[in-house]
Symmetry: C2
Amino acid sequence: MPGSGKSLLSSILKEKGYTVIVMSDSVRKRFEKDARHGERLMDYARRLREIYGEGIVARLSIEELKGREEKVAFDGVRNLAEVDEFSRLGKPLIIAVHASPATRYERLKRRMRADDSVREEDLRRRDMEEIALGIGGVIAMADVVVINDSTEEEFKRRAMEALGKLD
Amino acid sequence: MPGSGKSLLSSILKEKGYTVIVMSDSVRKRFEKDARHGERLMDYARRLREIYGEGIVARLSIEELKGREEKVAFDGVRNLAEVDEFSRLGKPLIIAVHASPATRYERLKRRMRADDSVREEDLRRRDMEEIALGIGGVIAMADVVVINDSTEEEFKRRAMEALGKLD
């Protein structure tokens, strides 16, 4: 969910030798050539899903691989159809990062502090868009949930502990 | 999600002086008088939601209150419309209990050991039914997630710690 701190988890995975594919980047490449005037990345991705199916962003992300990677992480899974696509590569492990809405909204407001107009209502609407895509199902089926309600150091410690169990 | 250990959380809340309303119990009362032949409780609840709206089970559960309770917990929220219903009583806090599918399936198999025919496929299908109801969105928007991947004692300790923060 936005503001939960999943990009921090990606950094940790990179440090541990994972190739991290940021799923929105693989959409962004097409978006830049293909988007409609004024279309948001998120709406473009929704349009791709309507045309090519719920798993399309996962398939585009798999295309990014060179085929020589040993440990791969995909950052930004939005629905369980994407997880099914990844299972063609091997048994995928779902890692979710959780923070409460109150904590996430505080972080997002801080991050966007240049723009004072950011309202809690808008952040909540964005959450509902993510949930409509199916992200809740992915979190519900996660193999690991790392809670990010404290400091960055504490989150790193928890993430390393969780990843240690998976190795 | 099934097998995550949320009824254990209910026991802890009762010990802490909460009135716990088990949402499926408030459906069961009607179910016993009203169900179709061979209908499962879950399918009956789905039918209620189709007729009376997504928040119906929450409204039936609110009806169970005597109006004199100080601290109330509702056990078994399935979608965010139910959370909206509860917000008429005051600001609700969502507590989710998480365990990985592997852990949950192991527990469920143990619990149903009299019936050897229980297959992982069936447990997964039940998970997908829960997710279709919208439970993932509730987990994604949880104020607190308590991880239940260890012993009962450790879960109790984590739950008490999390509840302590909320008081």
